[in-house]
Amino acid sequence: MAAEIATRPPHPFIEGWHYFRQNKGALAGLIVFLAFVVIAALSPWLAPYSPDAQDRAAVLVPPFWQEGGSTAHLLGTDAVGRDLLSRIMYGGRWSLFIGLIVIVISMSGGILLGLSAAFARGFVDTLIMRVLDVLLAIPSLLLALVVVAILGPGLFNAMFAVALVYMPHYARLTRGSAMSELQKDYVTASRVAGASVWRLMFRTVLPNCAPPLIVQATLGFSTAVLDMAALGFLGMGAQPPTPEWGTMLADAREFILRAWWVVTFPGLAILISVLAVNLMGDGLRDVLDPKLKRS
């Protein structure tokens, strides 16, 4: 007897991980992103100070390696003597969590609309898609600003606005892949077997539309973090003294020519986390959705 040959293919997750691991950039992105998440999650224990603690004796202290800086405040302090490093660590909780929530809201809405359009066809489909076309015709930041102008500035309103702005992307993607899945025999079989519309939508069709959605969600996460930071920067998102990274930059603007560190570090945190997620997203796309080409 010949040696037993492994007949079972590896689990899709393991196979995917195998390919993902070979993409060094994606792996680096994942590691950096996880590091950010861990630091943000553990900030109450890791951060040297509370994000709101003001040290009146140490206002606009430069980072430790510059003259006048001290190791008491590694990255220096801001205009009211708050420790920048601590604020950035706590800020990760806001910025990354906000990004996550925005994506969850926007993806859920998008999936629901996309599946409805694909299943209903006809008038409902046309109506949904035309409405989405209108939303897509307006530049994203502009639309988000207008929605915030209606609802009033604030963290939750800004999150809702950004989620609404990106919903059409998920809806279109879901509709597209659901339409092509609906043509396939397994769906017909399931329908003939008496599966309800809900079951067809969420158990039969949706899992097969997942790969492009996961890729879009990863890349969308970075856009959501950027847009929320932009709204915070414009004074429309999270309000001071929330240590959200974009809001921190808005606070720091008047000191740019006097204290470079107050401006540099929060932005660097945004850039690095967004870059890490984009690298990760590119890697995921190559694994999950070889058809989509990088642009």
Binding site: I138, P139, L145, F233, L234, L249, R294
Partner: protein, 336 residues
């Protein structure tokens, strides 16, 4: 060809109507009714309130109000600013050249650096140069541009003192706008140093606004070039013994250009959204800054008009890109 043109335009009409509806609903969705909003904090008596509601037609059914609004929009009447009382359209048109000048410079900057970077990266695939371009463009693509602007101000205005921090030109210079483009007007004005002043004001905002389009154009050019370089006709051209420079520059580049042109055109939305942030950072007197200021001043008719006009500009440019695409590539216009 005419059919292709007409069909493209026909597709746009429902979207344009949708955008007008969004703009119309914007004012209606605000808390409080429009008369209270115009009256501001002083408030009005109930009788006066009712009279004003009737005069502006706010007591009629919403679809009648929308029809009136649409009619006004099509006649170029976008209402008046609550703050300055001037027509919104006039305000927009006064400020738009500043945004247009900045956007044109930004996209030129992005093309001038992005195209060659993409072509060179593709023709030297896998080298350090290629990896460098890919890393740099991914960073550019991930850049929070408002922060990028602040960094450049710190470096070039703060430390090096090369460029001014804000505005379009030094206050020393004054001349009547002819074209609305400061670079051209300053040349026409014949004042010493005016052009250099305008130019130095424009440099940083151009770089900031052009960064994301540059990254997108470079990456798109690279991938289009890679695709074309593996085509048979490129292999044939190489086999004929043509120098690489000629194969890459002439045979491959011209064919890779088609998707790139579309990408460039589709950056309009990115540019106008980016202009909101860029103009705010550099106090650039364009429509982006005006829009933000209008939101803060609760000047809602201006926000409404700005939304409608900016969305229209994006739609028109996208239509032009679509039509150009049909002109360059006959497969597109006959395919539909």
């Amino acid at each position: 060809m005419l059919r292709f043109f007409l069909s493209r335009i026909a597709v746009l009409i429902p979207t344009f109507l949708g955008v007008t509806l969004v703009a119309f609903l914007f004012i209606r969705l605000l808390p409080g009714d429009p008369v209270e909003m115009m009256a501001g904090e002083r408030g009005t008596s109930p009788e006066r309130h009712a009279e004003l509601m009737a005069r502006f037609g706010f007591d009629r059914p919403w679809w009648e109000q929308y029809a009136t609004f649409l009619g006004n929009v099509l006649h170029g009447d976008l209402g008046n600013s609550i703050v300055t009382k001037a027509p919104v359209l006039t305000e927009f048109l006064t400020l738009f050249p500043a945004t247009l000048e900045l956007s044109i410079c930004a996209i030129l900057f992005a093309i001038v650096f992005g195209l060659p970077a993409g072509v060179l990266a593709a023709s030297r695939r896998g080298t350090i140069f290629d990896h460098g371009v890919m890393a740099a463009t991914l960073t550019g693509y991930s850049m929070p541009i408002f922060w990028w602007g602040l960094l450049l101000i710190i470096l070039f205005s703060g430390i090096l003192g090369w460029t001014p921090v804000s505005g379009r030109i030094d206050l020393l210079y004054f001349f009547e706008p002819v074209t609305g483009f400061m670079l051209i007007d300053s040349l026409l004005s014949d004042q010493d140093g005016a052009f250099m002043s305008a130019f130095s004001h424009l440099v940083l905002p151009t770089i900031v606004l052009g960064t994301i389009p540059l990254a997108v154009i470079a990456r798109q050019t690279r991938s289009a070039m890679l695709e074309v370089l593996s085509e048979d006709y490129v292999r044939t051209a190489k086999a004929k013994g043509l120098p690489t420079r000629r194969v890459v520059g002439l045979h491959a580049f011209r064919n890779a250009l088609i998707p790139v042109v579309t990408t460039i055109g589709l950056q309009t939305g990115v540019l106008l959204a980016g202009a909101i942030l860029t103009e705010t950072i550099f106090s650039w007197p364009g429509v982006g800054k005006w829009l933000i200021d209008s939101i803060f001043r609760r000047d809602y008719p201006s926000v409404q008009g700005g939304l409608l006009l900016i969305a229209s500009v994006v739609m028109i440019v996208n239509l032009l890109v679509d039509l150009t695409y049909g002109l360059i590539d006959p497969r597109i216009r006959h395919g539909r």
